[in-house]
């Protein structure tokens, strides 16, 4: 029996007066993946933000490796790409790279962004910006990846490339939590249905 690295016990979150998450619990083992499914408004994004520590929990608890301190262990990809239009793709990743000490080049290479590395990000298409946001995950070096619709607007070849990245991350013991309505290359992921 592998001990789970991520444990969530009866998570409850309110948004305004509405209880969006009602005692949700799950565990994810090393190298594991959890796919969040459910209709719009079911609380998938809220759950990801809560696990990231961006949204305050109104009940329940979260443990990662037995500790409730998540700072610096999480890479989050939300609906927004967090790309600065005035900076080049490489410069956009350099903040994450300086913190993790990982190189930017291979991440850009993996998502076929290397030819665009010298252009300001405002010249990129929506799908290319999304790929840049995916590349930031590789640079982050965080063990827990939280992905909210990660492949929205991304072409099939890049989804396949992202599948390779996800497989590499999990093979290295990383964890993935993803919310999506599109097919994601996450073999044998556990499914959690919300709403």
């Amino acid at each position: 029996m592998v001990t789970p690295r991520l444990q969530a016990e009866s998570l409850s979150v309110f948004r305004g007066d509405r209880l969006v998450l009602d005692r949700v619990g799950f565990t994810v083992a090393s190298g594991g993946a959890l796919l969040l499914l459910g209709p719009n408004g079911a609380g998938k994004s809220t759950l990801l933000r809560a696990v990231a520590g961006l949204k305050r929990l109104d009940g329940g608890r979260l443990l990662f490796d037995g500790s409730d301190e998540f700072l610096g262990k999480v890479a989050y990809l939300g609906h927004l790409d967090g790309i600065k239009p005035g900076l080049t793709p490489a410069e956009n990743l350099s903040f994450a790279a300086r913190i993790s000490g990982r190189p930017v080049g291979p991440a850009l290479e993996a998502l076929a962004l290397a030819p665009l590395a010298g252009l300001p990000a405002r010249m990129l298409s929506a799908g290319q910006k999304r790929r840049l946001a995916l590349a930031r995950l590789c640079v982050s070096g965080a063990p827990l990846w939280l992905l909210d619709e990660p492949t929205l607007g991304v072409d099939a070849a890049s989804v396949a490339a992202f599948g390779t990245i996800l497989a590499g991350h999990r093979a290295a013991g990383g964890l993935v939590l993803a919310a999506t309505h599109l097919p994601l290359p996450l073999p044998d992921a556990t499914e959690l249905r919300l709403g």
Partner: protein
């Protein structure tokens, strides 16, 4: 420490790439300062007496200009989430923002204050007291401004709310800063330093809590 340095590098690179924001504040400082002689008359004696006050008020208002976008841009494009997940506590993210605001806006204003003061006939002997006060005063402005910018983040019409929130808090800076030039530089500069010493730990903590609230 490494993350803090990375944050500063990021902020300065962004400021360099969008130089218009910094330059805009400086230009505002000069133009606003140049309006006073037109309004109160060109008499060198009157100008010399009012110069410290003019420079201080213009610096205060110019430092307000970039505050609106200090967190606003990062909040809107999602980068604020990434900053807060970078491993730095929210209060240190806020401190990094305050330091970058000071480096990018406060220091250029400090330099630009010299020609403006000379233009307004401030006696050269009073320049050190003016600049000493501005050195600390601009730092206080950056700290208070960062805290208030974080507090109004996500509020509708935050841009209007921001000056109303910041300016009352900066009255001690204005009083001690302008008084340091007029009389008793030592005592007034020490009081200014005390205000800075209080703001340095309190503002980032308040700003950090406000940032957490804004993204919640």
């Amino acid at each position: 420490m490494k993350a803090f340095a990375a944050l500063l590098a990021r902020e300065i690179r962004l400021a360099a790439r969008h130089g218009g924001d910094t330059f805009g504040a400086l230009l505002f400082f000069f133009v606003a300062g140049a309006l006073f002689p037109l309004a109160i008359g060109p008499s060198p004696q009157v100008l010399a007496n009012t110069a410290p006050g003019i420079v201080w008020v213009c610096a205060l208002l110019a430092a307000l200009l970039p505050l609106d976008r200090l967190f606003g841009a990062d909040f809107e494009d999602g980068s604020l989430d990434h900053l807060l997940l970078s491993g730095l506590p929210a209060s240190l993210v806020a401190l990094g923002k305050a330091v970058s605001h000071w480096l990018v806006t406060g220091v250029p204003l400090l330099v630009a204050a010299v020609p403006l003061a000379v233009m307004l006939h401030l006696p050269n002997a009073l320049l050190p007291a003016l600049l000493g006060g501005l050195l600390m005063g601009t730092a206080v402005l950056s700290l208070l401004g960062t805290a208030c910018a974080a507090i109004v983040l996500g509020a509708r019409r935050g841009g209007v709310l921001l000056p109303v929130l910041v300016l009352p808090l900066t009255t001690p800076v204005l009083i001690f800063g302008a008084a340091a030039v007029a009389s008793e530089p030592r005592a007034n500069l020490l009081l200014l330093g005390a205000y800075l010493a209080a703001c340095l730990p309190l503002c980032p903590v308040a700003a950090g809590a406000a940032l957490r609230g804004a993204i919640d």
